[in-house]
């Protein structure tokens, strides 16, 4: 039997000064979800990835004012943490090559951090005016329960 999926939601104004609220809420959510054995490093990685995604939304989605919101949903099922950021405006997304470590630039690490910190990353458009960024992280490999097999 699969453990029940649980979803947590937060809506923040699309503004850089609200991102610390998002980070703290994320940490609380991950640590307080019972049965999720999340390590400090995993919490950090998830916070980092969500921060980088949210910063890109704030900077690039063309919001004219901070009345725009970013809706964040964290879904935890078994040992998988799935996070979705929903926002309006110009879609942001794409892949980034790893930074050149011999001559690192002073910017452009954001997408690389997201791809390193999370197992799956997806960018897209969900409705006519809302865009999504979906991030997924598998916290531990889990053996399939014998009674899951048909």
């Amino acid at each position: 039997m699969h453990k029940a999926e649980r979803a947590y939601r937060l809506s923040i104004p699309a503004s850089l000064d609200k991102l610390s609220t998002l980070r703290h809420w994320l940490e609380e959510t991950l640590r307080s979800h019972s049965s999720l054995g999340v390590s400090d490093e995993q919490v950090f990685h998830i916070q980092l990835a969500v921060q980088e995604a949210a910063v890109n939304v704030v900077r690039h989605s063309g919001f004219a004012d901070t009345n725009q919101a970013i809706d964040v949903t964290v879904t935890i099922a078994d040992q998988i943490v799935a996070i979705e950021l929903l926002y309006e405006g110009v879609e942001f997304g794409g892949t980034a090559p790893p930074p050149d470590f011999d001559s690192p630039g002073e910017g452009g690490f954001g997408l690389f951090i997201i791809s390193q910190a999370m197992d799956e990353v997806e960018y897209g458009r969900s409705t006519s005016s809302r865009n999504f960024i979906r991030l997924k992280k598998q916290l531990s490999t889990k053996e399939v329960d014998t009674h899951d097999r048909n």
Partner: protein
């Protein structure tokens, strides 16, 4: 964003104030520190108050390192929390910077 500055011999030691060096705060920190780093050859940045650094914060630290390197000097970091270390390791920046546990160790490394 600069909490304290201290001269330890020839070394400028700067404590970064606040808990986050990130998209929200890193621009103003860079503005403040740029002049202070001008011409300095031995700099230690103490990150021990910080609990969060993102790519913007990292970018500013790299800019500081570059500035001091261009003057023929070196910039060292100390007091990294486990979160900040996790970022550095994730993007392999721990290979770029000289990182020490304490201010003392960092300043002694210049001797």
């Amino acid at each position: 964003m600069i909490a304290t500055e201290e001269e330890v011999g020839q070394t400028l030691v700067v404590q970064i104030a606040g808990t986050a060096l990130d998209a929200e705060t890193s621009k103003s920190f860079r503005k403040q520190i740029k002049d202070k780093l001008q011409g300095r050859k031995q700099v230690v940045l103490d990150l021990s108050e910080l609990t969060f650094v993102d790519s913007s914060g990292l970018g500013v630290l790299i800019a500081c390192l570059r500035q001091v390197s261009a003057a023929g000097g070196d910039l060292k970091l100390c007091g990294l929390s486990s979160q900040v270390r996790a970022l550095f390791e994730l993007v392999r920046m721990h290979r770029l910077f000289s990182i020490y546990n304490t201010r003392d160790e960092a300043t002694r490394a210049f001797r």
